[in-house]
Symmetry: C2
Subunit: 338 residues, 2 copies
């Protein structure tokens, strides 16, 4: 599928979804839309992802060059920016589907619904939960696959990236590994999945279990994308539901080097690293024997020599092999997991 | 407000909501509807709650004797039983409001909506979350009130009852105490509240915080009704969200004497009692310094002499004062809490 990726005024640093899709998805990216960086190319900014030209708007593209317009950014709150409307309109008029992970559902927008019907296009709101989700049965451990969950010391420490990188490295090493996506970017990359942070709270664990039951006998390893952190003042419910719903065999503890307080909730200090290991394992224990067997440290803020030292110190602190999956190889971590 | 309470074929033992309302709510209960026990009275079955005659249907009541029909039972799954339709229809035609905590929203039922409009009645679906809920800010501890949360070893161990009893006993002892209701029965009793198990999972903590911020400067003590259990394979997300969202000062650990496995998930054994104390306190610690300072044991399955022994053993196991709030007095427990 050929996609254009909307990322106005935020590419590349504040366009997490766009970058995730360029890095990990199977889509053929024919363009990024960003009126600020238009005229340049993706690889002018980020070298290790799929390249594409950057345009100012959908109007700069041939109508039949694109199958879908993908919304690759999200403002705080997940609303729809009216300055994007012209691009969505042009895409629909040209027969493109729209893929969006916004909290604002495009399929509930009157103009878009009408244009989609007229032009036989699909409005795919990936953050809209399926209607048939329900409570967990507590049976995710019955699948054949080994279930590996990324857990974090905070939000935005790289859990999605770690899940994607480890699954890719495992596949390249010859293992049959798949990703279980739980958030909007993961769902866009994989093309399916339940948006766990948007389901009814009673169904949090059940929505994870349902995906594991669906894929668990088709693969040998499932890398479940974690969300939030078990000590997050706002999002710990989602984290806890994924931990118990997945009944994971193994956990990878993800951390951002230098992070000392909860992002956006700076009055809450992060506990020390061994406390996280105990918290996740002790909370998992009555439901599943999940153990933290590897660590992943995001060292993107550090120089190369500091990064290696930081990874070593991190591995020592949590007493398992660790790496930065983007910067270094994942061999020792995969050895611990597979 | 004068209410009739629908409890067909389930009164009293399987009518938790009906009994909760009869026991704790300020409503004037003019009738219970139960076609199986019709002709008897509430106090023929349960002596320590508000008495009312039991009728076969709404048709047996004078139209102007009732202000609202309250649905006092819930089938598994929370659906609407078609055998109740005639009673709801009769109530609406007689000008009564309907109060329901079902997952099935009466306000989305075409016939009920039309009848309600024609007769100027309200359809109150208490399990329908408000549209303006959002994520927690992590500030519930800023209110003046001391926040006391009931937490459990499992579902259905009596958390709602304990919250109601302790708040009532505290008020009778002269303290200014209120209940923060989080489930359908609590909401029906109190007449307001957010149904935490039905909110968007990302808003679990936020929906609790919102209530505490609303009431926290009006009272000296808030008794927050807990839900589920932190080790429940399906519902732990809700429990975790309430723990962190409430930022409780003190916790009351609730348990059902003799319970050894998760209700309905019998392959999951309950951890031992001191493990619960550690789990709840350690999980709370990075967000709030919540401590388990009292215990509540449901001894309804035991004889009197066994019950006293069980409560003493329970207090020993969790190393704090304990009682059965229904069977015994709550003095030592209140001393620890207030």
């Amino acid at each position: 599928m050929r996609v254009a990726i909307l990322a106005h005024e935020k590419f590349p640093d504040r366009a997490k979804t766009a970058l995730g899709v360029l890095r990990y998805a199977d889509y053929d990216a024919v363009a990024v839309l960003d009126r600020e960086t238009a005229g340049q190319r993706v690889n002018d900014f980020v070298s290790d992802v799929q390249d594409a030209p950057i345009y100012e708007s959908m109007a700069d593209l041939e109508a039949d060059a694109v199958d879908a317009l993908l919304i690759g950014i999200a403002p705080i709150g997940g609303g729809f920016e009216e300055s994007w409307r012209e691009d969505v309109r042009t895409a629909l008029e040209g027969g493109c589907d729209i893929i969006s992970g916004l909290h604002y559902f495009l399929a509930e927008d009157e103009e878009f619904t009408q244009l989609a019907a007229e032009n036989d296009c699909e409005l795919r709101d990936v953050r809209k939960p399926s209607d048939d989700l329900t409570v967990s049965q507590g049976i995710a451990d019955e699948v054949d696959a080994e279930v590996i969950l990324t857990v974090g010391t905070d939000c935005s420490v790289g859990k999605m990236t770690v899940s994607m990188e480890l699954a890719r490295d495992a596949r390249e090493a010859g293992y049959d590994a798949a990703v279980i996506p739980t958030g909007q970017t993961g769902i866009m990359i994989e093309g399916w999945g339940n948006p766990i942070d948007r389901v009814v709270s009673d169904f949090t664990a059940g929505a994870v279990e349902e995906m594991i039951l669906e894929k668990g006998d088709e693969h040998d390893y499932l890398f479940v994308e974690g969300q939030g952190s078990i000590v997050h003042p706002a999002y710990s419910a989602v984290t806890c539901g994924i931990l118990h719903g997945s009944m994971a065999d193994k956990l990878v503890l993800c951390h951002d080097a230098g992070r000392e307080a909860i992002h956006g909730y700076e009055s809450f200090s992060l506990p020390d690293l061994p406390t996280y290991v105990d918290l996740y394992e002790n909370l998992a224990a009555p439901v599943a024997g999940s153990e933290i067997v590897a660590g992943a440290l995001n060292t993107s803020n550090l120089e190369d020599d500091e990064a290696r030292e930081a990874v070593d110190a991190y591995a020592d602190a949590i007493d398992v092999p660790a790496t930065d999956v983007v910067r270094f190889d994942s061999e020792t971590v995969l050895d611990a997991l597979l």
